[in-house]
């Protein structure tokens, strides 16, 4: 019961997170590359409910920003200008699912006001918008790479486990090579084998391919283990006795038994791969400017003055904690369910 509730909680959080990122254009108040050079390193905009006269407003509003005269480089609220927060506003154009154009944004303020809920970076770009758009790259890379790894794992694991013999021996020895390299070193080695400067979408595809291909070994070994025990189960042996073909046995009887391991592995691999993209892009080996990815958002923190002066540059990384927590909880709950089913 408890594990069931945990699973549903985590799944709802995941669905919300992915929904926000899928419709980044709608939820982000600005585009990911929209710069406002006068607003470089603006702190997160505060939402107010009471104005300077102490009057309460039901609809939250923000003040305009002006340079702080006492503190050069910092900003102060311009209490003479109030911009109420509005929902479903018209703003900069974006594309929904890459097809049709829209101007509708979930929230925003009048166009001469500024709303930076997570502050801005050095170019005055809205961090929240960049976080949402960045998720489209980072999360998609993680999802695709995890899917690729597990697909390879299923292929290799089922071949090795089902046929055994020299195929098994060969594939498992091969997987040992991949497991004998610490995986971040392996990731960097494969990245080193690829050109340094390439077009953005190529970088994305390469990242997915690299992460997906180097991660097949562990899922393959786990799936092989399940297949080994699954093919000895009585109903599988019976089906074989009735003359079922290998393909029928594999797809109808053996592989369905691996779904628990497969789902758990996917839930564990996605955060790992998201983090891998973040690490590579952080070091300048992944997705580059002006594209937004979670790694590029963090890469400015390599400069000490940004690290120490602008705390909101950490926010994108902090937002990853609930996401990862949800994935790990899902994996955990799946594993628990798996145990109770097999007993």
């Amino acid at each position: 019961m408890n594990s069931r509730r945990k699973l549903w909680g985590a799944l709802i959080l995941l669905a919300a997170f992915h929904g926000l990122i899928l419709f980044a254009g709608f939820f982000a108040p600005y585009g990911f590359a929209v710069q406002d050079r006068d607003m470089s390193f603006a702190p997160p905009t505060r939402l107010h409910f009471t104005d300077a006269q102490g009057k309460f407003h039901l609809r939250p509003f923000v003040y305009g920003l002006k340079d702080d005269p006492a503190n050069p480089g910092a900003y102060a609220a311009d209490t003479t200008h109030m911009y109420p927060l509005r929902f479903f506003v018209q703003g900069s154009p974006y594309k929904v699912a890459g097809l049709f154009e829209s101007h509708l944004h979930f929230f925003g303020v009048a166009s001469d006001g500024r709303l930076f809920l997570m502050g801005t970076d050095g170019y005055g770009r809205d961090q929240l918008s960049r976080f949402l758009y960045g998720g489209q790259i980072s999360l998609l890379a993680g999802l695709l790479a995890a899917a690729l790894s597990v697909a390879l794992g299923i292929l290799v694991g089922s071949l090795a486990g089902f046929y055994g013999g020299w195929i098994d021996e060969l594939l498992m020895r091969g997987s040992e090579i991949f497991l004998a390299l610490p995986w971040l070193y392996l990731l960097f080695a494969v990245r080193a084998a690829l050109p340094l400067h390439i077009a953005e979408w190529q970088v994305f595809l390469l990242l997915v391919a690299v992460m997906g291909v180097i991660g097949w070994a562990r899922p393959a070994r786990l799936i092989r283990g399940v297949v080994l025990s699954a093919k000895e189960r009585k109903f599988v042996v019976a089906a074989r006795g009735f003359g079922a073909s290998d393909a029928h046995l594999l797809f109808k009887h053996v592989l369905p038994q691996t779904y628990g391991v497969v789902l758990t592995q996917i839930a564990l691999l996605i955060p790992q791969y998201v983090l891998a993209e973040v690490t590579l892009s952080f070091l300048g080996l992944g997705v580059g400017e002006p594209m937004a990815s979670w790694g590029t958002l963090l890469s400015s923190l390599q400069q000490y003055y940004i690290l120490s002066s602008y705390w909101w540059m950490f926010l994108p990384a902090l937002l990853l904690i609930p996401l990862f927590l949800a994935y790990y909880t899902t994996a955990d709950a799946l594993q628990e369910r798996l145990k109770s089913v097999s007993l």
């Binding site: 090579i177 004998a180 390299l181 610490p182 080695a189 690829l194 952080f282 963090l298």
Partner: protein, 322 residues
Amino acid sequence: MRYISRRLIHAILLLLAVSFFSFALLQLAPGDFFDAMRLNPEISQHTVESIRSEYGLDQPLPIRYGRWLRSMLKGNLGFSLASNSPVAPLLRVRARNTLLLSGTATLLAWLLALPIGVWSAAKRGGWGDRIGKVATSTILAVPDLLLFLGLLLLAVRTGWFPTGGMVSPGIDGLDFWSQAKDVAFHLVLPAFGLAVVMLPVLVLHVRSAMIEALESPFIRAARGHGIPRARLLFRYALPAASNPLISLLGFSVATMLSTSMLAEVVLSWPGLGPLLVESIFSRDVYVVVAVVMLSSVFLVMGNLLADLLLFASDPRIRTETE
């Protein structure tokens, strides 16, 4: 003895396969170190080609691999094109630093994980155990990068810790103890960060191994005899639970090395990690191969060490293989 020698031969064969795999991978890479030179109009195509053949880059793959392997065995570990010298001297200091960092962190992580894990297993279901469970899964979800950046922020903001490097400038003249103290001072943040990253997994495993041990009949018998609790936990239950933990020690080497690399880069600890990133940017393939190879050697050695420990601690393995 048979068991040990079999493990040893297996490790060597594995490393050979890894070496061929990583060498071939990096040799298949498009472009090489001399690409920048080729673009320079002042250097003729002919000169570039003759330099390449001087370094043997025009030979076919098997021959280059053979040469490289010979250089590995001679202890040169290949030739760095960027610094025009054998790789070994570059690597020796870096490898020592990485080992120092990950060794300290491993020790620290285990020293923390054992009491925490044993304690939460002993108080299973209590509030402390529950808080511990929430804490471990939260720490598990914190991106390593965020943790290291946070530690760096701490160092930059407070000045309590050095913000990077391994020694303070002007340390050379001092006596051994002051130097060691300085290194230890620089070691605090990265080692602590690494230990924190490792901790949740270790605690979880110690806890579950201990729970299994505590449920076994001989512990109940011992409890019935009135043996004090601390002695029961650490003298009787922990050794019985040690078997999976020793295997975990072997497995955790891989994670430790990967995490250590990230920590080294972010907190500028002069280990293998920063060297690897630099050599990727300068396309210095042989350094990349050597670093990757070395990381694999560490990993395989770690696993071998765990196997040997298991062999020493568990009589069942000894009798099984004789």
